[in-house]
């Protein structure tokens, strides 16, 4: 079997196995062993199968496309021809959702190195989390007393455990996420996008008896829908003008039965004949030039397209399409201004947080930006960069003061996602996606560690922790690895943890971009400042939790190391958090693997932009060289070190008192502790007006439209009443009057009955003459009429 058939088969199966697990647990979950205990095995077996299949696919891929060292500097000119051919990708369709004329929506695949890498990462992390969860969710195997739910009659909720349901949702979640990764077109992305949303609804709202949990679930879904609103607009802009949502070119039977190549989005926006340079596709030009097209003879339209394009027609459409699709990513990847759902998503069980925050859901947005990268114009990229910068800064500042261990991690996730978006936005395609992968490892590690801590302490509040390193050495040690990885610790220019490589790449590209566009050098400052904040709040977390003396002996006395089934995934993930960024001698490593999938035409750098002025996106490989690399690495090292030192001064050796600092900066502190009041702001700006409009609409129905209808009905009844009155008084009156008149006439006429025959004859004669006159008059009138 050739690779083009093998990859879709392997990855397709890897994608569908979790669905099978979902269906099986849905129907037979409660019967899987006592309390559905074996559901965990079914789900875990499914995800392990997916992992194995993904690894097989990766092996197949590497066999056919061995990873080689990237060509830097002067050598890049020589592989220009290979560059022009674009990345290796396999695409095709499994089946059709809708087809009408040339328009087609389908379920298909687009497989390149990025897809394969993401499959491995997602299934690997999901496997770790499944194993971990089978220990963590142990409580659900028997009846549960939920202490956070207070019943109206006093006391707490007592309910049966729902162990299988958790794994059922987890399986569906994995299926949905893998669906996004393998998707061959944007419509399919959107389908699984929504499914991921609803899975998160199930998982965040797992403890649905808690109002806070179900509200957080709703919030997550609805906020995501706000992003999807933008995404739909992007989809419409593409679909309306181009008539396709396929990524890659596809072959289809034309009208005459011959095979016709139908270009996909990538081919339309970056046509091969133009050296994969970005241009507004013909369809969009024509769409924008509709008025001109209408006045141009049909035969001349094709020839004028280039003129119209150079007039700038259609570029707004491409901009809207890019920003629209990015809006969806803003929702899913919790970027400013839609990041508010993510911290609330902590209401779900901790394994869910780990999954949602690392390799799935939030990764989907970054992944889609990476996947959709060829279509993004310079202006869109700048929007992405700024959204990322704002996000990383806001989230990092909130994380500084949070006391809930999971919330610190949640805001650190938001902040790190901001990093990735920023990286993608300044032209660092590989840097952003590289960080996505390394972050997936260390963030899932950090969350699972926090889960281990919560499992031991039964509280999320770091102020009650402290000194846990002694009782939980494994958790403390692996979490330290995670913290070091996220701050990008390493020996400059020698070796480091995974985060060291990916963060350096981001810093370098941001610096490179700032040098090329001095007006936007704030982006580099955001990255550098963010690195300092990250180091500070991560080590604040670690010191508060594990170092020093226990602050709450009640908590500390009960704390214990977690069981092996929970610790084992921590160790595995810790190893990867260290090593995932390494490039082996010979060039084998994640960055070079990702380079294989680099979208055609993005290696060269790009200039352009019409909304925000002319922008220059330096080629990514330039940031690996010389001065920029050195500056970036040293900056990263210095800021991270400064952050750790400050955290140590405040929380380890306690030379600086956090309480005093908080008092000195009281307004700032409460602003940050209030999370910049985004929730309150949105409530006032959007929720309340929406509810107000809703009441208005409902009130209009009852108060206006129904009043009008009832008024009409009332009028009709009044008219009927008048009619009845007319009937009674006038019509009936006339009849009665006639009757009366007849009666009286009869009485009068009686007097005529004199009995005189001569008189009678005279009456008859006069009457007949009168009738004749009347009849002739009437007849004439009717003839005339």
């Amino acid at each position: 079997m050739d690779i083009a058939a093998q990859l879709p088969l392997l990855l397709g199966l890897a994608w569908l196995v979790p669905l099978a697990s979902f269906v099986a647990i849905l129907f037979f979950g409660p019967r899987m062993g006592p309390h559905g205990r074996n559901a965990a095995w079914v789900a875990t077996a499914a995800i392990v199968t997916s992992l194995v299949l993904s690894l097989l696919a990766a092996g197949t891929w590497l066999g056919a496309h061995p990873v080689q060292a990237a060509h830097h500097g002067g050598s890049h000119g020589s592989d220009h021809s290979a560059e022009a051919a674009g990345p290796v990708a396999y695409a095709g369709d499994w089946y059709t959702l809708y087809q009408g004329g040339g328009l087609r929506l389908s379920i298909g695949w687009y497989i390149d190195a990025l897809t394969v890498a993401m499959f491995v990462v997602v299934t690997f992390i999901a496997t770790c989390i499944h194993v971990y969860a089978s220990g963590y969710m142990h409580d659900e195997l028997h009846d549960v007393t939920d202490h956070e739910v207070h019943l109206s009659g006093g006391g707490h909720l007592h309910r049966p455990g729902r162990f299988p349901r958790f794994f059922q949702a987890l399986s569906l979640f994995c299926f949905s996420m893998l669906g996004i990764v393998i998707a061959g077109n944007l419509a399919m992305v959107f389908v699984f996008w929504e499914l991921v949303g609803i899975c998160s609804w199930f998982l965040i709202g797992f403890y649905y008896e808690r109002t806070s949990a179900s509200t957080a679930a709703n919030k997550a879904f609805i906020v995501n829908r706000v992003g999807d609103f933008g995404m739909l607009i992007g989809l419409m802009a593409l679909w309306g003008a181009l008539g396709t949502l396929q990524f890659a070119d596809s072959k289809a039977a034309g009208p005459d039965g011959a095979q016709v190549v139908r270009p996909g989005l990538f081919g339309l926006v970056r046509p091969a004949e133009g050296g994969h340079a970005l241009q507004v596709p013909d369809g969009m030009v024509k769409f924008a030039a509709a008025d001109l097209v209408a006045t141009t003879p049909a035969a001349e339209v094709a020839a004028k397209i280039d003129d119209w394009r150079s007039m700038g027609l259609g570029r707004w459409l491409l901009f809207i399409a890019g920003v629209g699709i990015f809006c969806g990513c803003v929702g899913k990847s919790a970027q400013f201004p839609l990041f508010v759902w993510l911290p609330d998503a902590m209401e779900g069980p901790t394994p869910v947080s780990a999954l949602v925050h690392s390799a799935t859901m939030v990764a989907a947005g970054v992944y889609l930006v990476g996947r959709f990268y060829p279509v993004l114009t310079p202006d869109v990229l700048l929007v992405i960069a700024y959204v990322g910068a704002i996000t990383l800064f806001i989230a990092a500042t909130i994380a500084l003061v949070a006391n809930d261990i999971k919330r610190v991690l949640a805001y650190s996730t938001v902040s790190q996602l901001g990093y990735m978006m920023l990286a993608l936005g300044v032209g660092g395609w590989a840097a952003g996606l590289f960080h996505l992968v390394t972050h997936a490892f260390f963030k899932s590690l950090l969350f699972l560690c926090s889960g281990s801590v919560i499992h031991a302490c039964h509280t999320n509040d770091m102020r009650k922790m402290g000194g846990l390193a002694r009782v939980m050495p494994w958790t403390a040690g692996t979490m330290l690895v995670g913290c070091l990885a996220i701050i990008g610790a390493g020996v400059p220019f020698v070796i480091g943890l995974s985060g060291y490589y990916s963060k350096d790449a981001i810093l370098a590209q941001a610096l490179s971009f700032s040098r090329a566009n001095p007006a936007h050098s704030i982006l580099f400052l955001a990255v550098a400042g963010g690195a300092f904040l990250t180091a500070f709040y991560m080590f604040r977390l670690w010191f508060m939790t594990f170092a020093g003396e226990p602050r709450d002996h009640h908590v500390a006395d009960h704390a214990h190391e977690s069981p092996g089934v929970m610790v084992a995934p921590l160790v595995v993930l810790a190893v990867l958090a260290v090593a995932a960024g390494w490039t082996l001698p010979g060039g084998f490593g994640l960055p070079n693997l990702l380079e294989q999938a680099r979208p055609a035409g993005t290696a060269e750098g790009m200039t352009g932009g019409f909304v925000f002025g002319n922008l220059t996106f330096p080629a990514e490989h330039e940031s690996h060289e010389g001065a920029i690399h050195v500056t970036a690495t040293l900056t990263a090292f210095a800021t991270a070190l400064a952050g750790v030192v400050l955290a140590a001064l405040m929380y380890l050796v306690r030379i600086i008192s956090p309480a005093v600092v908080a008092t000195i900066f009281r307004p700032v502190y409460s602003f940050l502790a209030g999370r910049w009041y985004f929730d309150e702001l949105y409530h006032a700006l959007f929720v309340l007006p929406a509810l107000g409009i809703a009441e208005l609409a409902s009130g209009t129905d009852r108060g206006v439209i129904d009043r009008i209808i009832e008024g009409l009905a009332w009028t009709a009844r009044q008219l009927a009443g008048i009619d009845a009155w007319i009937d009674r008084t006038i019509v009936d009156g006339l009849v009665n009057a006639t009757a009366n008149a007849t009666w009286h006439a009869g009485l009068e006429l009686k007097k005529l009955q004199t009995g005189h025959l001569r008189q009678y004859v005279m009456f008859i004669v006069v009457g007949t003459v009168a009738l004749f006159v009347l009849a002739s008059l009437l007849f004439r009138t009717s003839m005339a009429g």
């Binding site: 809708y98 929506l105 019943l151 649905y208 024509k286």
Partner: protein
């Protein structure tokens, strides 16, 4: 009905049976020999009848299920009218017993028979005047089916009215506390629509002239039955074309042919400064949109739903609303294409206003059933939008496939909404039967009390939410995507609705099913779902998933007929409405060769 007719018209008895069997059984049930007290017998007879009608409709729609296909059964992929039945009825006015189905009407017929069967099963809790209820119920089914298969405008109107009366009584007698108010409101609204429709029918009838049609058109529109032999056909054609006086017609297919003539008398005749075509379109549109319903003529719907008993709500939302959309698709556009093109903004605008307004109003409701009713207003707005964009991009380019996408999406949305809204109303009814209230604030914790029921209910509500993998998604996405080419503004507003939909449905689910404990009265009555209820809910959920995962099942039926009608009208636009052939150019890279002259 002579023997010869049944030989040349193989669909005569099957189609007649589908339409009239319920009425026949209703007549039987109304006889004094059926004692009122034998309620179980009446219920089972009704259920059995609806089941037979369902199987019959399935026999027509899916011949493979019953072995080899007969001549009366539906041929998939055939775009024209099939199973046509034609018998003279009132000769003086050329009114005929003219029935037929195509890919547009047949799925709706099957939906009707299917939902009628489920609604009959859902009628068990009805204990008041059981006999009268079931008689009216069966009459209602005949009325609905008759509307979908009628190809004679007069017959269509008769069935339309036949449907109205049973509905009035079913709401007015078996409804809730404000049933009389709701029933009269329903009746007045619908009556207004009917009167306007009658006016339009008469206008079209007296303006129509069959002599303008070519022999081929007369045959294609079944004015002259293609079942006749060649000689008889020629005679019949000559009889029409050589007539001294105008030959008026109620034949919907012929009216469409006349309406699409270059010298259409409907377009040529002026009344008070507006073409008759436009008058007729507007009058018919008002009649149909009242049924759909669109804002601002929708306020009968929430009241009717809140008061109607559960099975009647299912029928009302599942089938009756579709009659409006069907009417617009089958009658308004083909007969009055010019007016449809000029007034596309009206149809699309009404659709989008309904979508947003209905969603906002749903958000504000405290009554569970009222919320679901408003969700219907919102969802049917998609249908209007999809139908409206049909006549969208005229002028300089002809993206017939973009129009077709909208109409296909609208048709799919009608069918999907038939499943999901009937399901939602049934789910509300299950709760109401137990605790006798519908106040959204007084539920909670149902999931833990009734897990199986709640699982099914949440699935149905998700279908309403438009979640991928369930039936609501496909129609909404197709319509929304197609609307961009018509109007960017409307497209954006329609996309905005997805946020509101998620908000009101998730909020309702949270208040009813989630939470720790039940907050309302009669908590001890919250018993698990009964087998009868399960038998009704399961098929609805099953089809909601099936059509969501494999929409092609429906598109195989719908798309050929819709595409043909759209192509015909696209052709009409090019030929008649828009005489600028030189400027015809295609946008985008697709479209069938014959339609895109620029290629």
């Amino acid at each position: 009905m002579d023997a010869a007719a049944s030989i040349t018209q193989p669909a005569l008895w099957p189609l007649t049976a589908i339409v009239f069997l319920p009425a026949l059984v209703a007549a039987f049930l109304s006889l004094p020999i059926v004692p009122k007290a034998r309620e179980e017998f009446i219920r089972w007879t009704t259920l059995f009848t609806t089941a037979v009608v369902f199987v019959l409709s399935l026999w027509m729609a899916w011949p493979q299920l019953f072995g080899a296909a007969g001549p009366a059964q539906f041929r998939l992929g055939d775009t024209g009218m099939q199973a046509v039945v034609k018998l003279p009825w009132i000769r003086a006015f050329g009114i005929e017993y003219l029935l037929g189905v195509d890919g547009i009407s047949l799925p709706l017929v099957v939906l009707t028979t299917f939902l009628s069967m489920l609604a009959a099963a859902a009628s068990w809790p009805i204990t008041k005047h059981v006999k009268a209820y079931h008689v009216l119920f069966l009459l209602l089914e005949t009325g609905m089916l008759g509307v979908f298969v009628s190809l004679d405008f007069f017959l269509f109107y008769v069935f339309w009215e036949v449907m109205l009366l049973p509905m009035y009584f079913l709401i007015g007698i078996w409804g809730g506390p404000r049933r009389e108010y709701a029933a009269i409101k329903f009746f007045l609204y619908t009556l207004l629509g009917s009167v306007l429709m009658l006016l339009a029918i008469l206008m079209l009838y007296f303006t129509s002239d069959l002599r303008q049609l070519s022999p081929e058109q007369l045959l294609a529109s079944h004015v002259v039955s293609p079942a006749l032999d060649a000689g008889a056909q020629a005679d019949a054609v000559r009889a029409v074309r050589d007539a001294k006086a105008p030959v008026h017609t109620f034949n919907l297919l012929a009216l469409a042919q006349i309406g699409q003539l270059p010298n259409s008398p409907f377009a040529a005749t002026q009344i008070w400064g507006m073409s008759l075509e436009k008058w007729a379109f507007l009058l018919l549109l008002i009649g149909f949109v009242i049924k759909v319903p669109v804002v601002p003529v929708h306020t009968w719907l929430p009241d009717a739903h809140v008061e109607a008993p559960t099975p009647i709500s299912m029928i009302l939302a599942g089938v009756l609303l579709k009659l409006g959309g069907y009417g617009i698709l089958r009658i308004c556009y083909p007969i009055c294409p010019g007016a449809g093109l000029d007034l596309a903004w009206l149809v699309c605008g009404l659709g989008v206003v309904s979508m947003v307004y209905g969603a906002f109003a749903a958000l504000a409701q405290k009554d569970f059933k009222r919320m679901v009713a408003y969700s219907s207003v919102s969802h049917m707005g998609y249908v209007m939008l999809g139908l409206g964009v049909w006549s969208a991009v005229a002028g300089h380019d002809y993206r017939w496939d973009a129009w077709a996408q909208g109409v296909n999406g609208a048709m799919f949305q009608m069918l999907a909404h038939g499943i999901s809204s009937a399901g939602m109303f049934f789910m509300v009814g299950v709760l109401y039967d137990r605790v006798h209230h519908r106040n959204l604030e007084e539920f909670g914790g149902i999931f833990n009390r009734m897990p199986v029921y709640s699982g099914l209910a949440i699935a149905v509500f998700f279908a309403g939410l438009g979640l991928p993998g369930l039936c609501g998604f496909i129609g909404e996405v197709l319509v929304t995507l197609s609307s961009w080419n018509y109007s960017r503004a409307l497209a954006v507003v329609s996309a905005f609705t997805v946020i509101l939909t998620a908000a009101y449905i998730l909020w309702a689910i949270q208040r009813v099913y989630l939470g720790a404990e039940y907050k309302g009265p009669h908590g001890d009555h919250l018993t698990a779902i009964t087998p009868r209820e399960l038998a009704i809910a399961t098929p609805l959920v099953f089809f909601a998933i099936l059509f969501g995962v494999a929409p092609q099942i429906l598109f195989n039926y719908v798309a050929p007929s819709v595409n043909r009608q759209v192509e015909t009208l696209a052709d009409w636009t090019r030929r008649v409405h828009d005489a600028k052939p030189a400027s015809v150019a295609a946008i985008g890279e697709q479209g069938p060769g014959q339609d895109v002259a620029a290629r």
